[in-house]
Symmetry: C2
Subunit: 194 residues, 2 copies
DNA sequence: TGATTCTGATGCAGTCACTGCAATTTGGCG
DNA sequence: CGCCAAATTGCAGTGACTGCATCAGAATCA
């Protein structure tokens, strides 16, 4: 990452945390982009150089799986489950210090429909990334199956993210593995009669 | 449904189809809410009585699973898969005549990021509905499993919707069943070594 | 060091999305 | 025909967002 990108990332984060702090205090509808920009120490115009609209600022810069860990996952030789554990564990390690902010964001997106939409969008974007990784790891698999598996994995890790960010569970990775282990029994429900 | 609700629904649809038609011709960014309202034969103000923002008009009124079919599914006695087939088959039957418009909408949402977000949001909203139905059908199941299963089901039916609306497959229900049958093998991938 | 150049920040002006309110019309119903 | 509730509309105002021209700072090079 070039030094200018680091600088950009930092400013983006500063705007995000200002936006979340203000939204938590006053409600998303009662704060203006100008107020956010001002609290973040940039001009109103600069705000829009970083985020195309107000709600996007709350979501912040969208993180991807780290490239090296992704490579390891693609070429992994263990079971899918075991290698997945490595991947998400490296992924989450970068956000351990943002737990509180993430919790606020989750609560905010429960109240505001536009934020809900953006969060859902972020979830499905991540699903796309996961599907890409899976497809490269299992090149001969039916893409429709890849898609379905990716959905299940993201649903599982999302459960974990939420319970971690909202303080229900302490260890993210453990919660994630627990959820992931539910995928197979969940799928089995389909074929059983009740 | 009361007669006034029917009227409302009809107007909502009229606005939606005007919006999609204009967006297909000129691009979503080059049309104003006023132009959409005018093309739909309502005032600019009325537009916002139906949709809170421009992009929402393209998505139209969000359909839910029909109540009677949902009841049947909840109390169904066949395998989950078989009863699911009934449910989605009744669900889709109401939209068979909108295939072309749906195709346009899907293509539009590939180009515009806000529309992508809304579409993804609609998908996850539907996942929530599906999870609700599943939970009532299988009351003693771990909610986390329900969530995961709902995700997989929605991913599968979504695949089907897309290939149907874009003209790849002719029979929606058949495509959906094919996708649903991939859920279990997809889940099995998790535990295998490669 | 001083000239240059490039990236990012800013101010300004304009357009249009969107809202609240108050008035009017419409369509159903006795 | 007359009444009521729902739907439609106009209007005026706020603020989100854009294009453009300019400006400050930092890196590069002679």
């Amino acid at each position: 990452m070039s030094s200018s990108s680091i600088r950009r990332y930092h400013t983006a984060k500063k705007i995000q945390s200002a936006a979340i702090a203000l939204a938590v205090k006053n409600g998303l509808n009662n704060i203006t982009t100008e107020a956010i920009a001002c609290a973040a120490g940039v001009s109103a115009r600069t705000f829009f150089n970083y985020y195309p609209y107000k709600e996007a600022a709350l979501m912040g810069p969208q993180p991807d799986y780290p490239e090296d860990a992704a490579e390891l996952f693609i070429n992994g030789t263990g079971s899918l489950l075991a290698d997945l554990r490595e991947l998400i564990s490296v992924h989450i390690s970068r956000f351990l210090h943002e737990r509180e902010m993430l919790g606020h964001l989750l609560k905010l997106s429960e109240t505001d429909p536009k934020l809900t939409a953006l969060r859902n969008n972020a979830v499905l974007a991540r699903r796309g990334k996961m599907a890409g990784l899976l497809q490269r790891r299992l090149p001969d698999t039916d893409p429709r199956m890849i898609d379905i598996l990716a959905s299940a994995i993201i649903a599982a890790t999302n459960n974990a993210t939420q319970s971690w960010a909202l303080g229900v569970s302490e260890d993210f990775v453990e919660a994630a593995m627990e959820n992931l282990s539910l995928i197979l029994p969940a799928a089995r429900l389909l074929e059983e009669d009740d």
